[in-house]
């Protein structure tokens, strides 16, 4: 049997196993595990499926907790590992959790619209640049864009600082002895 033939055989058995898992057919699951007792490839395939389903459960449980937090404790901040450039949505989220004094209800409504925008921030974070760039998201008073710009600068600095920390935390490669001064 070629490797491909074996893979096709395992594909069929794996789908049958998943079908049995979702259907709650415990006898069918047991029958496949009994077959796997003398078939290491099948045993590996079923073990990997178990691990994948467990990981999915963990991911959905974590998502459910984050969803409940957002629903019942809107002031809570879920700290996620920083990745990529700061987005408009992240700045708007920050403003929602830490609204500066004097921000009106209308301005917060504008802010809520921006919480769905995954666009990156503009390169120019000067106030005139941000006001002109922000027009694409609809009308908003300059006071809002000033608060947005301040939050954007803060989050960008934090992200850059976190990136530098990660770089510094990487283990240094040992230098060859001849390199030492």
């Amino acid at each position: 049997m070629t490797h491909r033939d074996n893979q096709l055989r395992l594909d069929g058995l794996a789908m049958h196993y998943l079908w049995a898992v979702e259907a709650g057919d415990l006898d069918a699951m047991d029958a496949l595990w009994a077959q796997a007792a003398t078939d290491p490839d099948l045993s590996n395939a079923l073990t990997e499926i178990d691990a994948e389903l467990a990981a999915e459960d963990d991911r959905s449980a974590a998502a459910a907790v984050v969803g409940l937090l957002a629903e019942h404790l809107p002031s809570a901040e879920v700290v996620r590992p920083a990745a990529g450039p700061v987005t408009v949505a992240e700045v708007a989220d920050h403003l929602r959790r830490h609204p500066p004094r004097g921000l009106t209800a209308d301005e917060l409504a504008v802010n809520d619209r921006l919480r769905a925008a995954a666009d990156p921030l503009p390169d120019d974070l000067g106030l005139p640049g941000v006001v002109s760039w922000g027009r694409r998201y609809g009308p908003a008073p300059e006071a809002y864009w000033k608060a947005f710009r301040d939050a954007a600068v803060l989050l960008t600095l934090r992200r850059e600082s976190a990136d530098s920390y990660q770089m510094a935390a990487r283990p240094a490669r040992p230098r060859p002895k001849g390199d030492r001064p």
């Binding site: 491909r4 893979q7 096709l8 395992l10 594909d11 794996a14 789908m15 049958h16 998943l18 079908w19 898992v21 979702e22 259907a23 709650g24 057919d25 415990l26 699951m29 047991d30 595990w33 045993s43 395939a45 073990t47 990997e48 499926i49 178990d50 691990a51 994948e52 389903l53 467990a54 999915e56 459960d57 959905s60 449980a61 459910a64």
Partner: protein, 187 residues
Amino acid sequence: MPPDISSPPAAADPIRAALADPAVLARMAAAAGVYFHNRMAHRPATERAEQVKVAVNNAAVLALDRAGRYDPAAGDVVDWLAGFARNAARDIARTYHRRAGRAGPCPNLDELPSAGDRPPVDAEWVAALLARLSPLARDIVRSKHVDGQTHEEIGRRVGLSTAAVRTRLSRAMETLRAAAADGEVRP
């Protein structure tokens, strides 16, 4: 202090050592968890997690009790313990009712029930069904059932593990089967 060699190591030692390893416990929990997928689907996730914990605990107690029967030559201790976890989970899962839904063998694209008098395979109808899937799921279904790729080949191409391709394909086929059976999709 020199090691005590006056008595042979207890039979439970390799079992105890394995049970002290979080990775082994995670493997046992994963082995047990699948038995609750259907039967506790409508229960809170915390209750399901609790039953997984009970199953792993029962399995550990039984494994220690039967440690003398473990034969390293017959297989890895982790596989042996995972077997206990499966048995314990099955015993608990049987006390829950099976949720109605899927029945019969895993379907293939050309085995989907036809709508009315339509022949089993109708290109337009299948296209309309496929449109209900996410782009990734559609790609996986096409690669498997149209291009004939293996799950391993698909995984390499889309950057997923073989097991992840399998779980996604299984769900996609269930979505297609349900849509076809309900007659929701018509060309």
